[in-house]
Amino acid sequence: MIPASFDYVEAENADAAIAALTEHGDEAKLMAGGHSLIPLMKFRLTTPQVVVDIGRINDLSYINDGGDHIAIGALTRHMAVETSDVLKAQAPILAHVASHVGDPSVRHRGTLGGSLAHGDPASDLPAAILALNATLVAKGPNGQREISASDFFTGFLETALASDEMLTEIRVPKVPDAGWSYQKFNRRAQDWAIVGVAAVSNGSTNVAMVNMGHTPLRSAAVEAALAGGASAADAAAVAAEGLTPPEDLNGDAEYRSHLARVLVGRALGEAMS
């Protein structure tokens, strides 16, 4: 299991990376920690002609207080997110969810931005980003723009990023007093969620799910039920409504739908108590 040959370009900063993307178009892939990309390349499920290594752009690895939000550089590693005192205080669900990604060795290399930009419907971090209603900052040849988390995941392994754009920063609102919960159901600790549910309760309650559709998603049905005054148990009962969960050896649609109801119930119980 060896990647197909490619040209390697090291980007010293975001502008250089964007320039490389502009030059090579669809033939190029950005690589941050490489923990989403390299496995696909080893199986030759993706064979980019050019790999643009952005992993050395140190000025995109930070966790800063941005006033009403915490700004996290896209190249911040999972382990840094997991162990950040600032995040533990201001957006604890994100630090907690980061601790559920893969295993410690994976978390030493994988990055928050890399994971989000990969757009895997089963990965953990999108759940926290969606439930926190974070804002993602993308930079392209014409400058930068902000994308709401709920608009970011557009399809299976697809995001709102244009082919010449790069994710540079993730802004999560400060919610030090919010109730929160992440319920990840899997077989082995290192595995992806069979279903994962994140809830953040801060006045209103946001509920996000992973591996319940072709993208990570906000649970419109549950949130609407809660907004309409439904109890947590009643809201949990509609968790699978309108969704088309994936089917695999770990779960068919019926079981995933059931898990979604159970896990939303548990998440709401924890977040809203």
Binding site: R187, R188, A189, I194, L249, N250, D252, H258, V262
Partner: protein, 795 residues
């Protein structure tokens, strides 16, 4: 010197393995080596219309590309790959060559081989070989095979490879069931398992620069058997083949075969006069290394009103996969004799039908036939206990052989003679350590409280058959080899000892355990003992490692070789001390003259004297260099009681194994540390079968979970610490009184875990759960049982 046998000596193997100095096949490189890249069939059953190798052949670094047909025409093989266990006279065995020529019979069948100058270039070139297949109907499951509408091998006209019966007294069996108060029937599936030794297999064949000899480094459990079989199937003389198993990263049965890659490496190296190598990738291993289990079992037990067993009847349909590998058809038979477990069964019948499918071949995997047997009998014993209305432990006690007391050489219904056993004390110890009464009280408390996490307690009292030998018994099973093992003990002029082992380790710690045996026998410091093994040039005689046989046959051979050394040394000592041999005591490495404490000779001194040969008794051969080839009079039958404690989350169906108690009896102990490790690892492989693992195939015969991302080998977070304990019932099959322990854990654990789950789910009326008991499966069972109950149940 104090005794070292029976002590937890630290392993001699460890320093190398802990510092990266252990050399596995892929660590060994030679100049000029060519990497094989295997082009494997992507279809389970298809005709090969054409293979285009032009693009691959023109790629940089590519030496050559051969299709299966070309290799066949090159005359590389004298015979197909071997099956050494034709279980019946009329067993079907379609020819299995290292590469397919006209038709592929499973996904992964090799259709072409690329040779290139690097790992990377071989992978690149193999991708560029284009194969045009014409699909044929694929037998994608044993159900497909039994239905027989599609044929795995069109030329055979049937999928059934053999029918094998073992029914000592058919009339008695019929009568037992006719007269029974209770008849309980269980239908179980032993799902296919991917062995997944952590080291993928690999080969490196090096032709000698002169003389035409070939050395094959291979990740194998069976260098000696492999040598014979490669000689027979390649036509290369045995004398020109040297097989070396360097550090081998686990085997579990998966490395006891004669594989296409091994044959290809040897024959291509021979043909091209270049070193040829290959290392399996993990995702390839689901197709390039045999799998385990793959059986459907029908198990019936007849009992009187008290639950006393009257008869046991078992039938299995066994999935051979696409071809008969080395011992494929024999695996189910290894279990056949144990479907009566540790119980006094008056009447017994067993039948097995072997079927071909278009799936990866099956063969031995940890326990090989015995975990399946243990599972079947221990599951139906639990079912019988419910039926009779007694506890699982009580139904077992009522049926133990010899009334639960100690015995030696007891004949059982399947016609075997168990060497020794004593089951009740072993069960008692397990129940004590598990605190069974407290567990049952907690279970009841949770049931009464309607707790969402229900407790289940599962029991298994297993017996296994190990120490494969005796050769005559294997002959009776039509096995194509003997069961002896060789050991040599040489005292060197320096006073150190060289031990040559016929059995070959791959993690079991032979170097340590054999050193302990020899140290104890000869009174020599274990540090002065070197154990040589796993190289047919150094250890030319051996029958290798499988079936928990190393200690019970090979370790015993070494102990007996030590006895020969001592006998000879005694004569030399007597000669030199001018004493009668019978007047010499041998203690702590010294021959002393009785009554004259000052007069004596160390065995090292005698060794030097035997080497110089200056002063030996008349006619005696120089040197202390003794070989023993041991062929035991009987198998050994380890046993034990395992208790699994599980929590089943009724909301999600998730099972958590929260405690595990194992009381094993493997006779006398050589190294308790090593025994403990074998038990732990074995248990987790059985737990893995019960809860996590299973090769899944689609209707076209594609494996859906070949990688370790999808094939769920448990990680540290899925298993608890394991509580262990031992009873000690010495074997009567060998002078050390030892029994094997490598497979025992696996043989006991799957049934214990599933019995525990069924115990937890009893309030729902659930009586069985198939393996692996995934959360989805368990939740669906609860959901369906509850909705049936809510709808008025058995309408």
């Amino acid at each position: 010197m104090t005794a070292v046998m029976g002590t937890p000596m630290k392993r001699k193997e460890d320093p190398k393995l802990l510092t990266g100095e252990g050399k596995f096949v892929d660590d060994i490189h030679v100049h000029g080596e060519l990497w094989m890249g295997m082009v494997r069939s992507t279809m389970a059953h298809a005709k090969i219309n054409a293979i285009d190798t032009a693009e691959a052949a023109g790629m940089p670094g590519v030496h050559s590309v051969f299709t299966g047909t070309q290799l066949q025409e090159m005359g590389l093989w004298a015979a197909p790959l071997p099956c050494a266990w034709p279980v019946t006279e009329d067993m079907l065995n379609p020819p299995h060559f290292p590469t397919a020529s006209e038709v592929v019979h499973h996904v992964g069948d090799i259709v072409a081989v690329v040779l290139a100058d690097s790992r990377y270039r071989a992978a690149d070139a193999a991708e560029m070989v284009v194969v045009d297949y014409e699909p044929l109907p694929a037998v994608a499951s044993i159900e497909d095979a039994i239905a027989g509408e599609k044929l795995a091998h069109a030329g055979l006209g049937t999928n059934k490879a053999f029918h094998w019966p073992l029914i000592p007294d058919p009339d008695a069996l019929e009568a037992a069931f006719a007269n029974a108060t209770h008849v309980v029937k269980g239908e179980f599936v032993q799902q296919r398992l991917i062995p997944a030794a952590m080291e993928p297999r690999g080969v490196l064949a090096i032709p000698s620069p002169a003389g035409g000899d070939i050395t094959l480094y291979t990740s194998t459990q069976v260098p000696h058997i492999l040598k014979v079989m490669l000689a027979a199937t390649t036509g290369i003389s045995e004398s020109k083949l040297r097989i070396i198993a360097p550090a081998v990263g686990g085997g579990f049965g998966a490395k006891l075969n004669v594989n296409p890659d091994e044959s290809l490496a040897v024959t291509l190296a021979n043909k091209l006069s270049r070193p040829v190598r290959w290392t399996e990738t993990r995702s390839e291993a689901a197709f390039s290394t045999h799998q385990g289990r793959g059986q459907k079992q029908t198990m019936e037990i007849a009992a009187d009103e008290n639950g006393k067993i009257l008869g046991v009847r078992a039938h299995i349909d066994a999935d051979m996969g696409a071809y008969m590998m080395l011992i494929t058809p024999g695996v189910p038979l290894l279990g056949s004799f144990l479907y009566t477990g540790v119980y006094d069964v008056p009447a017994f019948g067993f039948t097995c039908d072997g079927y071909f499918t278009n799936l990866t071949p099956t063969d031995a995997y940890r326990g090989a036939g015995r975990p399946e047997a243990s599972y079947a009998i221990e599951r139906v014993m639990d079912m019988l206990s419910y039926e009779v209305g007694v506890t699982p432990e009580e139904i077992r006690r009522r049926n133990y052989l010899a009334g639960g007391g100690e015995f030696e050489n007891l004949e059982v219904a399947s016609t075997l003679v168990f060497d020794s056993g004593n089951y009740s004390p072993n069960l008692d110890m397990a129940l004590d350590m598990a605190k069974m009464a407290e567990l049952r009280a907690e279970q009841q408390r949770r049931r009464d409280a309607g707790d969402k996490k229900q407790l289940g307690i599962g029991l298994c009292t297993y017996v296994e058959i190990c120490g494969l030998a005796p050769s005559r018994a294997l002959a009776g099973l039509n096995y194509g080899a003997g069961g002896w093992e060789a050991g040599t003990v040489r005292l060197l002029p320096t006073g150190k000892v060289e031990v040559v082992s016929g059995s070959t380790p791959h993690g079991q710690g032979h170097e340590t355990a054999w050193s302990q045996i020899v140290a104890d026998k000869l009174g020599i410091d274990p540090a002065d003992i070197t154990v040589l093994h796993s190289d047919t040039a150094i250890s030319p005689l051996g029958m290798d490692t499988y079936g928990s046989r190393s200690l019970a046959v090979g370790g015993v051979a070494i102990a007996m070789a030590c006895d020969k050394v001592i006998d000879k040394a005694r004569l030399i000592a007597a000669h030199q001390l001018e004493a009668n041999p019978d007047d010499l005591d041998f203690e702590a490495g010294r021959f002393g003259v009785k009554g004259s404490p000052d007069k004596g000779l160390l065995i090292q001194e005698i060794a030097f004297g035997a080497f110089t040969a200056h002063n030996l008794p008349d006619g005696m051969e120089p040197n202390l260099n003794e070989q023993m080839i041991f062929d035991p009079p009987n198998f050994a039958f380890p046993f034990g009681t395992h208790v699994a404690v599980v929590e089943v989350d009724e909301d999600t169906g998730e099972t958590e194994l929260i405690d595990y108690i194992a009381i094993d009896d493997c006779g006398n102990h050589v190294n308790p540390l090593i025994i403990e490790g074998q038990v732990h690892g074995g248990i987790v492989q059985g737990v893995a079968q019960a809860l996590y693992e299973g090769a899944e195939y689609d209707a076209e015969g594609n494996c859906k979970n070949p990688s370790l991302m999808d094939y769920l080998v448990p990680s540290p977070t899925e298993v608890p610490n394991i509580q262990t304990g031992y009873t000690y019932t010495p074997s009567t099959s060998n002078p050390l009184g030892v029994k094997g322990v490598g497979e025992a854990g696996t043989i006991g654990s799957a049934a214990a875990v599933i019995n525990a789950i069924c115990d937890a789910l009893r309030p729902h009326g659930i009586t069985d759960m198939s393996m692996p008991a995934t959360p989805m499966k368990v939740w669906k069972a609860i959901n369906s049982a509850d909705s049936t109950a809510n709808n008025g149940g058995g309408q």
